[in-house]
């Protein structure tokens, strides 16, 4: 490296700032400093490909703030292939993958955005040119290369695979159409190719840039044997997906007081109302949106009087629909929600244990003391 040399102390400082900004544990700072030091010497190569995606997670990555995206791309990651960012096109773009496959075997991180369709030989999603031929109105041209084939080529040499966003991780919206296209979550595809390959999911539709960047850093530390991956049951980092949105919601007091928004014109500056009756899925969704917030911390869904739609939940969207109807049978034990499963099949059954004031309201009665918390 030419240019400035950076001292160990500066790396520690830098690592501390990065860890704090991403909400990583302070205990990780020394390891992170070491990792960043190594990154500066040789930035970890990243191959980022897109399946049946919408590019929302890539656009969200561009919204990254502290570290900004320019810092990430210039200083921290060697982005070998990213279809929206890279200069190369066509064969010059594919060349970047070929070189990385050859020179960086076992070292690159494979990021996949969007699920992988498996029906019709994978022809529902292709990029690059295949080894066979096809006819294009009388001209013989190279055929299309399904993303499924790319996965077969890229997974074996990857150090780890990051499924970025809800549809890569769990199928998400295109996954709900798997009957037609065979849209398959990335972890399932990877398991078939190499069952031992580390795969980490980053939920969210889209993923928050901090969730993605932080998960990549955690995975890199883990691969270097310097940290452990603390994952929840859905294979997502507990750093970001460890707590229910409802637990940390800034409007929790309104929920407990039974003050629900029922008309969007009712926006008193005195009290921001709870979105539960407008279908908020915060009580069943694990993510740190209320504290992390979005777009350089400017706002988040509930902050704009929109209900959380549960976009970081593996159940999004099919199992959480109708999105604007209140959750039917969520079990709340007092004010601490304990159960995070739901099923609309039970919608006709009596809701059990939902915040007492909500129940009172449903029954047309008023709680005796509206300023107190929910049923203990």
């Amino acid at each position: 490296m030419t240019g400035k040399t950076v001292s160990r102390r500066q790396f520690l400082k830098h690592a501390g700032a990065t860890a704090a900004l991403l909400g990583l544990s302070e205990a990780m700072i020394p390891q992170l400093a070491k990792a960043l030091e190594e990154l500066a010497a040789g930035k970890p190569p990243v191959i980022w490909i897109q399946g049946q995606n919408c590019t929302g997670c890539s656009v969200s990555f561009l919204n990254s703030n502290y570290p900004g995206v320019a810092d990430l791309v210039l200083n921290k990651l060697s982005v070998r292939y990213h279809p929206n960012v890279m200069a190369g096109t066509g064969q010059t773009a594919v060349e970047a993958i070929d070189v990385t496959l050859k020179d960086m075997k076992g070292k690159y991180v494979l990021v996949v955005e969007g699920p992988v369709p498996t029906k019709e030989n994978g022809d529902f999603c292709t990029f690059g040119l295949g080894s066979g031929k096809k006819s294009l109105m009388g001209n013989e041209v190279p055929n299309d290369k399904p993303i499924q084939e790319w996965m077969n080529e890229l997974v074996p040499g990857a150090a780890a695979v990051i499924a970025n966003g809800n549809c890569a991780s769990f199928g998400g919206i295109p996954g709900a159409n798997s009957g037609v296209t065979g849209a398959t979550p990335v972890p399932k595809i990877v398991a078939k190719i190499d069952s031992k390959k580390p795969v980490v999911n980053v939920g969210g539709c889209p993923s928050h840039p901090d969730w993605f960047v932080g998960t990549v850093l955690e995975a890199l530390l883990f691969l270097q044997g310097k940290g452990k991956l603390n994952l929840n049951e859905n294979n997502m980092s507990k750093t970001f997906f460890g707590q229910l949105i409802h637990e940390n919601c800034e409007r929790r007091a309104a929920f407990d007081a039974g003050l629900f928004l029922e008309d969007w014109n009712d926006q008193s500056p005195d009290m921001a109302l709870c979105m539960f009756k407008m279908g908020c899925k915060g009580p069943v969704t694990y993510a740190d949106c209320p504290t992390r917030r979005w777009n350089s911390k400017v706002n988040w869904c509930v902050g704009a009087n929109g209900p959380c739609h549960g976009c970081a939940s593996p159940d999004f969207y099919q199992l959480l629909s109708p999105l604007y109807k209140p959750l039917p049978n969520v079990n709340f034990a007092g004010i601490t929600p304990a159960v995070d499963t739901l099923g609309w099949v039970a919608a006709g059954a009596t809701a059990v244990g939902v915040g007492a004031h909500y129940l009172y309201k449903q029954l047309g009665e008023k709680p005796k003391e509206s300023t107190e918390g929910g049923e203990k």
């Binding site: 200083n75 019709e120 990029f127 296209t181 889209p206």
Partner: protein, 524 residues
């Protein structure tokens, strides 16, 4: 000797696009545009509560979710007969305007600019701007370390700004690369403006049938206006000047007219200025056969979609989107795209900023066109005018949005609760203008559920394949005659394609008008 070049992936666009061109004697003789990804979006909301539509449909595309969510809201306003309060109309315009700003900035700098600037000239920077010296050091270090990704490899071309023997010099190239970095922050600020009223971007919660969710107040108006001010200054002082610089590079003079799509333009119009939607800031209209001085009306019944060369069964042919139909058939002979071919009175139509501004003809655009010599015959508008129309839109919007902010009235309604009353049976449509052009959403409600949904998006028009009459799509036509001096580096082909700002995820989707549900879906 003719030769077919296949370019896949076309990067720095949204989605999965393949371009094949037949080159003979150093120019493109024939071209094919193929969308190569299919998901099946609209069927996911069939049988669901109609309010789900905007949340699912905005996720058609992560680059332009704002306009899809907005179009779905207008379709649902229409279906529920809700009347938008003025505050809601204005907030929808302000958020859409902010989305234009982020989208146009992203397009020029992060998607298109690397086709014109030689980033390898940066190490030769000899100026004294401290920020640019830092940039020079960084890029020099990356090149020295053998890690120049993601800026290399690329198509090589002698006419990059700053290239040895090319136009401009390394200092100009470095300045432009510096603006590329600034633009990352600027587009992020535009996303923050959206987030103020709509919660977050991409994918947002702020628009609902009958209105919006966030009332205007002193605090959010001030937060929005502060960012708008920064963007207004940057758009005028940097973005506009950079487009002018590129437009006046002598080497790019052919691109003023090369890349003309055939002279047919369509704009649905957008940014309603009154409660009835009669007056729009960007007006509605069509231009046919290159007669740009004669703007004609628009009648949506004149739209029909051809699938002759698309991977769909023949019974999907020739339908108006209201009754559109889409059954995939991957074995279909001669088909080469998942994109359909919508036509207006049988004509392929270019949509997007150029179409919109040729319909509107604002002074700023006409002055620029005069300056570039575009108003003398032949009236053809190619690659550079598309970038020009985009920046003119940004200039117009930053000025106008400031006035719209003044029209917000805190305390007044933002929502018509009628939007919540779902009729047993109804029909609604939302015709809007997104950053990439004319967008239509159509919804049919039956049994208080979404019975049918259809979206015809800008890139469906622009990137469409041939139709049953053999007419090429606008991008295909625009490529004819594009110079390709070096078949291994077809840079001009992708310069042309990118000038349309294609968004392929949007362009490919599916709808079942008569049969609901996956079970009856037929894949051959």
């Amino acid at each position: 000797m003719a030769q077919v070049i296949s370019i896949d992936p076309v990067t720095r666009i949204e989605g999965h696009l393949r371009i094949d061109v037949e080159v003979e004697g150093g120019v493109v003789k024939d071209a094919w545009s193929s969308g190569t990804m299919f998901r099946g979006y609209e069927m996911l909301i069939q049988g669901k509560h109609p309010w789900d539509a905007q949340q699912v449909m905005e996720r058609i595309c992560g680059v332009c979710p704002l306009i899809h969510g907005t179009a779905a809201s207008y379709a649902l306003d229409d279906a529920t007969k809700a009347t938008l309060p003025p505050n809601a109309r204005i907030i929808r315009n302000l958020t859409l305007g902010a989305n234009y700003l982020q989208s146009h900035i992203l397009h020029f700098y992060h998607l298109a600019a690397l086709d014109y600037i030689d980033i390898t000239a940066v190490p030769k920077y000899s100026g004294s701007n401290p920020a640019l010296i830092l940039l020079k050091d960084k890029i020099s270090a990356l090149v020295a370390a053998g890690d120049p990704y993601p800026f290399l490899p690329r198509y090589e071309s002698p006419d990059y700004i700053g290239a040895p023997g090319g136009p401009g010099d390394p200092n100009l190239a470095t300045e432009l690369v510096g603006h590329y970095v600034q633009a990352l922050e600027m587009r992020k600020k535009a996303q923050e403006m959206l987030s103020i009223f709509y919660g977050r971007m991409p994918s947002f919660v702020g628009t609902i049938p009958g209105g919006v969710t966030q009332a205007p107040n002193i605090s959010n108006i001030a937060a929005f206006r502060a960012r708008l001010g920064e963007l207004a200054q940057w758009v005028n002082e940097v973005y506009l000047q950079d487009v002018l610089t590129v437009a006046q590079v002598p080497e790019y003079e052919p691109f003023l007219r090369a890349g003309d799509s055939g002279g047919n333009y369509l704009a649905y119009g957008g940014f309603d200025q009154d409660q009835k939607g009669g007056e729009k800031f960007f007006p509605r209209g069509t231009i046919v056969n290159g007669d740009v001085l004669n703007v004609q009306g628009f009648n949506e019944t004149k739209i029909a979609e051809s699938v002759q060369y698309s991977w769909y069964t023949p019974d999907c042919e020739g339908l108006n989107p209201k009754n559109g139909k889409t059954d995939p058939d991957l074995e279909k002979k001669d088909a080469y795209s998942f994109i359909k071919a919508p036509r207006y009175e049988g004509k392929p139509m270019e949509v997007g900023p150029l179409a919109r501004q040729l319909v509107k003809k604002p002074d700023a655009l006409m002055n620029l066109a005069t300056k570039l010599g575009l108003l003398t015959p032949p009236l053809k508008f190619g690659i550079i005018p598309r970038h020009g129309a985009r920046v003119i839109e940004a200039v117009l919007l930053v000025a106008e949005m400031d006035k719209w902010l003044d029209q917000l009235v805190p305390g007044e309604p933002i929502w018509d609760p009628k939007g919540k009353e779902i009729p047993d049976a109804s029909y609604g449509r939302g015709l809007v203008e997104g950053p990439r052009g004319a967008l239509g959403h159509w919804i049919q409600i039956g049994d208080q559920k979404t019975k049918n949904y259809q979206a015809v998006v800008p890139t469906t028009w622009n990137a469409s394949p041939r139709d049953k009459d053999g007419n090429k799509g606008p991008i295909e036509t625009s490529l004819i005659g594009i110079p390709v001096p070096d078949v291994d580096n077809p840079i001009n082909v992708v310069r042309c394609v990118r000038s349309f700002d294609p968004c392929i995820a949007c362009a490919i989707h599916i709808i079942h008008p008569e049969h609901n549900g996956v079970k009856e879906f037929r894949v051959i």
